[in-house]
Assembly symmetry: C2
């Protein structure tokens, strides 16, 4: 597997960061040098132990200064401070990308700190699990998952980056930041917000209902608990940083939910049946698209 970037730095050693390192390591390309850094020294130690990185650095400047490609795999709320910190240490002509789930905010936060001779190309891998931390990563996380690149046009640099993501197993598409944030608000952010809400609602009932919410969770509730066990810091930051799109989608959702609520209250069977019938085909389309 041919990599255009030879020196790759990963900042942030959580699920995404370590999965990138695992995937590079699994490619067995001996020409690649990797650098890794996390603000948490325990995470650095864990990744050192794994033996999947050339250099685990205790100093963030050392982790980025020689890199052709710097990947910020950190919560979106920390992008600004990290970008400002590493800005003076970035190598001339380096490409810097991030893996954050909100793009307009990240671009606003990072852009002011990008030196003129450095290329910032935001991106977002649509891959993850409910687990977090350095031990959660694995080399096949990105297999057959979309990795979105944010750009107004295809350039030599976006092509190089796309090839790198494809080498990790991803399917790459280029979209605008605004479009990304809207799509993710409905496909990811709102589903997580709702899952957190219902698990919270049920959790408040636990005292009344003994432990039976947990015991009888297999009847539907269980599916929500997976999403609602995702990293709380990451998700706090996402909602604070994509609030416009999330609130817009939430309003649409609330209108639809009110409609169904009214239909239940008014005993309108036909309306309920019609609504429940049209959602069925969406599942089939997702299966056909190979995203199950």
């Amino acid at each position: 597997m041919e990599f255009d970037f030879k020196k790759i730095s990963v900042i942030g050693l959580g699920l995404i960061g370590t999965s990138i390192l695992h995937a590079i390591n699994a490619s067995k390309n001996t020409k690649i040098i990797t650098y890794a850094y996390d603000i948490n020294s325990k995470h650095r130690d864990i990744v050192s132990e794994m033996g999947i990185v050339t250099f685990v650095c205790d100093d963030i400047h050392k982790a980025v200064q020689d890199a052709d490609l710097v990947i910020l795999a950190i919560p979106v709320g920390t992008m600004k401070s990290v970008a400002s910190l590493i800005s003076p240490s970035l190598k001339k002509n380096a490409v810097i990308t991030d893996t954050g789930s909100t793009k307009s905010s990240v671009i606003n936060d990072i852009n002011p700190y990008i030196p003129k001779n450095v290329n910032f190309i935001p991106s977002h891998p649509l891959a993850g699990t409910e687990y977090s931390g350095p031990e959660a990563g694995f080399s096949t996380l990105f297999q057959n998952r979309y990795w979105l690149i944010i750009s107004n046009k295809e350039t030599e640099q976006t092509k190089k980056l796309a090839k790198f993501f494809e080498n990790l197993g991803s399917i790459v598409e280029i979209v605008s930041a605004k479009y990304h944030d809207k799509i993710l608000a409905i496909t990811s952010h709102l589903p997580h917000l709702i899952a957190y809400t219902i698990v919270g609602t049920a959790s408040d009932l636990e005292a009344d209902l003994k432990n039976d919410v947990i015991k009888f969770s297999a009847s539907g509730f269980r599916d929500f608990t997976r999403l609602a066990s995702s990293d709380p810091i990451m998700w706090r930051d996402i909602f604070l940083n994509n609030s416009d799109a999330v609130l817009e989608m939430l309003q649409r959702f609330n209108e639809d939910l009110s409609d169904l609520q009214k239909a239940i209250r008014k005993n309108q069977g036909e309306k309920l049946h019609a609504f429940f019938s049209r959602t069925r085909s969406i599942r089939k389309k997702i299966i056909d698209a190979g995203q199950i």
Copy 2:
């Protein structure tokens, strides 16, 4: 495997009904005679072809008249008419149960048609998939899943029925109808209502967002589409027949969602973080309870 009931009738040949027949068949107990009926002749033909039933009957009366145990595995909206129809044909001392997801309504609907010498014991297997129809059934559907029996006390008849459900692989608990309806409202009915809603909301956006909701569904949305592809008639009937408990849970959910909405709008990171942190432990408890 010893069965106390020797002649068992299953009315309704969907996912649950055929799974019961598959599981009895898999027990290889040659002393059991099974009878099966569905109002849809195509479903009867499909089950006849499968060779898992002693007698597939074209007449519902013939399907129940010799049975020691009659199981109504039909949508809860049809319980009343089916109970009234079979009432005169039920055998003396027979046990009749149902598998409906709402219990107070089903008891109200069926009780008036139960002859004095017949025992009606409502029940509900907390098992299912998003698939429906006779081809969806399989013998291990009930393995390690709870099957709730509705009764105020344990009797000889509830013990016999419990043993039968245990033979199908289930764990049996006895609860009251009211408690059942409340628990199911939060663990099953509300999650399904919300899943139907969000898939509907996203579906309305499809035109705007091309097919990208489907393409990028793996980021969270996908989990909701499974629930939202369940049988529309079954779910229409559930919401019409457990409306009080569902509307109560929905009100609690709406209050919690409004809180989170306000926190996002007001940029209250700490509040979001605290909420997202407490839901995480619920997932672990479900894993520990063996219900994943």
